[in-house]
């Protein structure tokens, strides 16, 4: 299955669309080059052969300062075909100008992505380009930092209240 989808994507977008892959394990995955992710998702959703009509989950992952990468993981599911697929996008942790690493939003493909991407933004600090409403979803709006980053340090005070024990 993974192989067929891979060749389908390469036929459509060229060989540079796949950055890496892992065909084994419980969740075989394809890592898609970041610029292609929205188009790839549209294709996998619209193509009747794949028809991934459901985004089961979208998560952000911090691989830590050593590997120096952040990931977004997309768990797709096709209800009529009874198939599942895991996609990844891997981006560097730091950008040159110090802004948040950016990944195109897939909200235009699956509405479900809206809150999941807000969570990844809130917890990991990933900027989703063209997201309709990219606000923090769990922490207060004026919270500092991204708590699930491996090198996260809590702020000392929040509105004058000491944060540490």
């Amino acid at each position: 299955m993974l192989h067929e989808i891979k060749s389908l994507l390469i036929d459509k977008f060229g060989s540079e669309v796949i950055q890496s892959e892992n065909p084994s394990g419980l969740q075989p995955w394809l890592a898609i080059k970041v610029d292609f992710i929205e188009k790839v998702c549209h294709e996998l959703h619209d193509n009747p052969k794949t028809f991934f009509d459901f985004l089961s989950c979208l998560s952000g992952v911090d691989n830590g300062p050593q590997q120096n990468t952040l990931e977004v993981i997309y768990n797709l599911c096709s209800i009529p075909h009874k198939t599942q697929l895991t996609l990844k996008v891997i981006v560097p942790r730091q950008t040159e100008d110090g802004s948040l690493p950016s990944v195109p939003s897939v909200c235009s493909v699956w509405g479900t992505a809206n809150w999941h991407e807000r969570e990844a933004y809130d917890m990991i600090g990933i900027n989703f380009i063209n997201h309709p409403d990219l606000r923090r979803i769990l922490c207060p709006q004026d919270w500092e930092g991204y708590p699930l980053r491996k090198d996260y340090k809590t702020q000392e005070f929040y509105h004058g209240i000491k944060v540490e024990y």
């Binding site: 209240i161 540490e164 024990y165």
Partner: protein
């Protein structure tokens, strides 16, 4: 009522202190503002339900801070919630009391070290009268806390209040 009828039915008088009557009335109808913040709230609800029946102590939850004497902080206070808790407390008429129920609201509980989002004790935003330990405290423990509060009220003097320190 036999004994009381026998004592008072012929227009007899009793002599007591105004403070004692006021305190007796107040401690027999402690109305808490009805809200729960996490798992402890389930135990609070169980305490108020028929099995443990807090109503027999005159404790009866109110839907508005304006009608409440007691704030029962039952659960995990996040920083996002802390400011709401403080505002609710400020909306309560005096004399008002706070009972902190469970480790979370006493001191941060299981989140004391890594819970970046949890207030490490509700006493950092509002003054607490009674702390009930436990995770969660059993209904008996909560009832014990209410009895402690009754004891506190019984020894107060509204007409000649001790200065707030």
């Amino acid at each position: 009522m036999g004994l009381l009828d026998y004592k008072f039915d012929q227009g007899r008088v009793i002599i007591t202190r105004v403070d004692d009557v006021l305190n007796w009335a107040r401690l027999s109808s402690i109305w808490p503002i009805g809200f729960g913040l996490a798992c402890c709230a389930i135990e609070m609800m169980a305490t108020m339900a028929s099995g443990h029946d807090l109503d027999r102590f005159g404790v009866f939850p109110r839907p508005s801070p304006r009608q409440s004497d007691l704030m029962l902080v039952a659960g995990t206070v996040t920083f996002k919630m802390a400011e709401r808790v403080k505002r609710l407390y400020e909306q309560m008429p005096e004399p008002r009391y706070v009972l902190s129920m469970g480790s979370c609201s006493n001191c941060g509980g299981p989140y004391w070290e890594y819970g970046y989002h949890v207030l490490k004790g509700v006493d950092r935003v509002i003054p607490v009268d009674v702390y009930v330990p436990g995770c969660p405290p059993r209904p008996e423990a909560l009832i014990g806390g209410i009895l402690k509060l009754q004891e506190k009220i019984r020894n107060e003097s509204l007409l000649n209040p001790a200065a707030l320190v």
